[in-house]
């Protein structure tokens, strides 16, 4: 499809978005109720699961050792992911570190997409609960490149409708209703999404990671799904996590 037509389509689509009427507005009382729900987040069970699974590989102590940090420094270190890790010469997310740890331990690593992997990622990130996200996208050449790639991926229009992440999540479009739900602002600095993922998704009745959520969104927007753990996907996570820099980590989250 010609680029010109693609872009025209996306503009037409966006023009048809309406601003949310009161009919779809959730009251503050409603929001408070949903916030209360996270007191008993089903994902708590999965996080406990993840802790058990990590336990078979040495638990927090084993993880800290594998990453080359002290157990005391582990929470703040986790709060800086995705990171460039010299050992792998790659910018990686927590899930990839877990895979590497499993492989190095002589075990077949869990697939990035598996429920058990999500559980372990959630547990590991929960070690950093209370810490502020401290990702450093200027730390080294690789992080800078990852950030640049993430930004590019976020802004690139592609797919059948000529949409980019920014098409629906830019400040200018925030609050507009798409498929009965108001669009969240992921473009603003301080957009805290990364601080509350992995999260329990009510519509999927399961624990999901941020990258997995991106995939769901891409599918709906008719964008070719980017594989978990791929350079672009990790870059996207770097870009989004940087937006949440300074936000307090609280895992597991609870989402629609």
């Amino acid at each position: 499809m010609k680029t010109g037509i693609k872009i025209a389509l996306s503009v037409a689509m966006l023009a048809s978005l309406s601003y949310g009427g009161e009919q779809f507005a959730m009251s503050d009382a409603d929001r408070a109720m949903y916030a209360e729900m996270s007191e008993n987040n089903p994902a708590d069970i999965m996080v406990a699961d993840g802790e058990e699974l990590l336990g078979y590989m040495g638990g927090d102590e084993g993880l800290a050792k594998y990453l080359g940090v002290s157990e005391d420094d582990l929470p703040a270190y986790i709060a800086g992911f995705p990171r460039y890790i010299k050992k792998f010469d790659m910018v990686v997310g927590i899930d990839q570190v877990i895979q590497a740890m499993m492989a190095d331990g002589g075990h077949k690593p869990l697939k990035l997409k598996s429920g058990n992997m999500f559980a372990m990622v959630a547990y590991v990130k929960s070690i950093a609960n209370g810490e502020k996200i401290n990702i450093d996208v200027t730390a080294n050449k690789q992080m800078k490149e990852a950030y640049a790639l993430g930004l590019k991926t976020y802004m690139t229009k592609r797919g059948g409708r000529g949409l980019s992440c920014n098409s629906c999540h830019a400040p200018a479009v925030v609050g507009r209703i798409l498929r009965t739900q108001p669009l969240p602002d992921l473009g603003a600095n301080g957009a805290k999404a990364a601080a509350t993922w992995p999260a329990y998704r009510m519509t999927k009745s399961s624990l999901r990671t941020l990258q997995r959520r991106f995939q769901g969104c891409m599918k709906n927007a008719l964008l070719k799904v980017i594989p978990l753990g791929s350079k672009q996907m990790v870059a996207l996570e770097v870009y989004l996590t940087n937006k949440a820099k300074g936000a307090e980590i609280s895992i597991p989250g609870l989402k629609r």
């Binding site: 949903y34 078979y56 009510m202 519509t203 599918k219 629609r256």
Partner: protein, 155 residues
């Protein structure tokens, strides 16, 4: 469990996150619950024919708009001393339009200390949710609220 056993188990650990098809009324013949019972029949069954009275003593907390019909938080609180001579015997949570109007029947005792019950229910569409409360003196009290269910969103 030994490390070896854990990794052997990897293939068989329950995939609890299997795809859950959403309960919906869309497309084709409307499916019927194996426990089909409409709201009025449910109320009569519970009260034995007595008419329940709406009461401010029963506080029903449900969202006005449910972000997702599969997970709607419901909390019922009843103003009661919960003593042996005066306590809440049961809290029933009913829906107006679900195929089976009943969602849960909770039988309390003074050992609970306070009369409250909270859970999450599935709503097949916009409808009224009702808390039907039975007191130890045989009285039946109710409180209702409508919940608008929005089905949508991306991803």
């Amino acid at each position: 469990m030994q490390r070896r056993d854990f990794f052997k188990k990897l293939g068989t650990v329950a995939a609890v996150s299997a795809v859950m098809p959403a309960m919906s009324f869309a497309g084709g013949a409307k499916p019927v619950s194996p426990n089909k019972m409409d709201y009025n029949t449910a109320v009569n069954t519970i009260t034995g024919g007595k008419t329940p009275k709406p009461s401010k003593k029963v506080k029903l907390k449900v969202p006005e708009i449910a972000e997702n019909g599969a997970v709607v938080p419901v909390t019922v609180t009843v103003d009661s001393p919960m003593t042996e001579s005066n306590y809440v015997k049961a809290i029933h949570i009913l829906t107006g339009k679900n195929s089976n109007a009943r969602t849960i029947d909770v039988y309390l005792t003074p050992a609970n200390g306070k009369a409250m019950f909270s859970t999450r229910i599935k709503l097949g569409g916009t409808q009224k949710v009702t808390a039907l409360v039975e007191l130890s003196n045989g009285e039946f009290l109710t409180a209702s609220q409508s919940v608008k269910v929005t089905i949508g969103g991306c991803g």
